[in-house]
């Protein structure tokens, strides 16, 4: 399905209120395909949207390519979902932007199990909480590590467990 078809479909199901569609502003054919994204403004409806994207036969986004997180440096964090349909080979990007103090989004692990570790990594590195995650722990760092290192203003501790952290 073409990108515009997907957005029409989504808008008819979720209404205009759900978010804003951003078509790509680049010329390259490749970037046009990957660069357009869909800003989800209401995290409460994310899970519903995710199930719709996966289960709607005409969309069939059965594969979560990547779940990434971005710190914008202005006190807000984003979660970015790259989705792909292995049936129709079309792709879509979802984004949720939240202020850092309320960095909580529903977990999509129940929709795409690939999100399990990816969400744990996003929590570990960026400090985004995923509500409803079955195993919400850090994954790469120790459980007692202070802070989330991929945040832009992260200061690494001088000492960790009494050991001097080399710089």
């Amino acid at each position: 399905m073409e990108q515009l078809g997907i957005i029409e479909r989504l808008q008819s199901a979720f209404g205009e209120t759900l978010g804003v569609w951003h078509a790509s502003n680049s010329e390259s054919a490749y970037a046009r395909r990957m660069g357009s994204f869909f800003q989800v403004s209401d995290p409460a409806r994310l899970l519903e949207l995710a199930f719709f994207l996966r289960d709607e036969p005409a969309l069939a986004f059965d594969s979560l390519l990547l779940l990434s997180s971005v710190d914008h440096g202005d006190g807000s964090l984003s979660v970015v979902y790259h989705l792909e349909s292995t049936v129709y080979r079309h792709q879509i990007v979802l984004k949720i932007t939240r202020p850092m103090a309320q960095a909580r989004v529903p977990s999509v692990t129940s929709v795409w199990s690939h999100a399990n570790w990816q969400e744990r990594e996003a929590w570990d590195m960026m400090g985004i909480r995923f509500e409803g995650h079955p195993d919400h722990r850090r994954i790469l760092l120790e459980e007692d590590y202070p802070g989330h290192p991929l945040r832009k203003y992260f200061k690494e501790p001088d000492f960790y467990h009494g050991m001097k952290v080399p710089n």
Binding site: Y30, F51, L65, W112, Q118, P134, I139
Partner: protein, 403 residues
């Protein structure tokens, strides 16, 4: 919660760590449950392929649950990348998937070039694909060899290393490094092909086909090996797609999905080759044997691609391989998700640029990370020996898992 949500959550409950364990029928006697024992495999263990720790809950020798603990090799590549310029990221990219550094570089430079709209000369593309395919063979040789070692056969491992050595020699001749190359630069290459490499390549094609046959006789079709691996750790097609499996792991389930064919990058659309998928000749699609078998086939297909590269290779071409390298690498503001097929699967780079010489955010979709996350699902209900085989068949590189 709407009804549809509940149904779907339930249907995927098996993927969760807290889900009840259903032992497959093949483990007998089913009702004989003993006290559970926790066995730590790793971080230092002969078969964890690096520093991976598996917390295995055992009932006798039956694996009840596996909890992988990763992060021992975590170097925070993504944080590093934010503090380095685009060309400086490359040595770090090498060190992510250190078994297949060329493929990792290929993925990174492809992503940055797409971000910058750089067209590289044809000759550069040919050399890149040639080296990426050689690297794929080298990486698969290690995967096949260590998989044999995990199942107890030691000798194929060394035969594989012998062949890999030839490939590394070609790389060393061309760029001076055997392992961590820093060879593919954004917009070009660090060196032109060494004149010895093409003849060496032709020679290698012949020798490698012989080794392929040898490994088949020695390992792949060995009945003990087939018995050990066939039907072990079966990954369901839907679960594989849903769980983010890629590369040989996904193809072994019978899914014809290869980025080189389905989302072509570089010049892969110029070559004729087959996407290797798992079959049910021996074992069943998605099992450990088919993961190995897909790698064996891909080795052959890569040889085919290399053969075509050698035929089509631009002759007497005086192209400067550094001609398209921009003086100052400063991509426009924007973001990209670009993916390539490495030996382990889909390597994606999500790069956000704010118009600076340093990337704002680099996120790596590392195939080994995603594939490893399926390990608990694959190995529940099998024996400890099978767990090792399953882990070996996934072919992880801890540098890439932990980044």
């Amino acid at each position: 919660m709407p009804e549809i949500l509940e149904r779907n959550i339930h249907s995927h409950s098996l993927l969760h760590a807290s889900a009840p364990v259903h032992l497959p029928d093949r483990v007998e006697p089913k009702r004989l449950h003993t006290e559970e024992m926790v066995l730590n495999i790793g971080p230092q263990h002969p078969s964890t392929h690096g520093v991976l720790r598996l917390e295995v809950v055992l009932d006798g020798e039956v694996v009840v649950d596996v909890i992988p603990h990763i992060g021992y090799l975590h170097r925070c590549f993504e944080k590093h990348a934010e503090n380095l310029t685009y060309p400086q990221v490359l040595p770090y990219v090498d060190r992510m998937d250190y078994i297949a550094a060329m493929s990792g570089e290929h993925g990174y430079v492809t992503a940055v070039e797409r971000l910058l709209y750089i067209e590289v000369p044809e000759k550069v593309e040919y050399i890149r694909v040639l080296f990426a395919e050689l690297q794929r063979i080298a990486s698969h040789l290690i995967a096949i060899g260590t998989f044999g070692m995990d199942s107890g056969a030691f000798t194929p491992f060394l035969y594989c290393f012998r062949d890999r050595e030839t490939i590394l020699e070609m790389f060393e001749k061309t760029c001076g490094a055997r392992f961590l190359y820093n060879y593919m630069w954004v917009g070009g290459l660090s060196h032109d092909l060494h004149p010895d490499v093409l003849p060496m390549c032709r020679d290698f094609l012949k020798k490698s086909r012989a080794t392929h046959q040898e490994i088949n006789d020695l390992l792949t079709f060995n009945h003990i090996f087939v018995e050990r691996t066939a039907g072990i750790g079966v990954l369901d097609r839907e679960v594989a797609i849903n769980g983010g499996a890629s590369g040989p792991m996904l193809r072994s389930c019978g899914v014809k999905w290869d980025i080189r064919k389905d989302d072509p990058y570089s010049i892969y659309d110029r070559f004729e080759w087959e996407v290797a998928i798992g079959s049910s000749d021996r074992g069943e699609p998605g099992d450990s044997f088919n993961r190995h078998w897909v790698r064996m086939q891909e080795w052959e297909q890569s040889l085919n691609i290399i053969e075509q590269i050698l035929e089509q290779f631009p002759r007497q071409d005086a192209t400067d391989v550094q001609s398209a390298i921009p003086k100052r690498l400063k991509p426009p503001e924007g973001e990209i998700y670009s993916r390539t097929e490495t030996p382990r699967g889909e390597l994606g780079y999500y790069i956000v640029s704010n118009g600076d010489v340093k990337p704002w955010r680099v996120k790596v979709r590392s195939p080994a990370f995603s594939n490893l996350s399926l390990l608990p699902l694959l190995s529940r209900g099998y024996l400890v020996a099978d767990l090792i085989v399953i882990l070996g068949s996934i072919d992880i590189v801890l540098g890439e898992v932990d980044r």
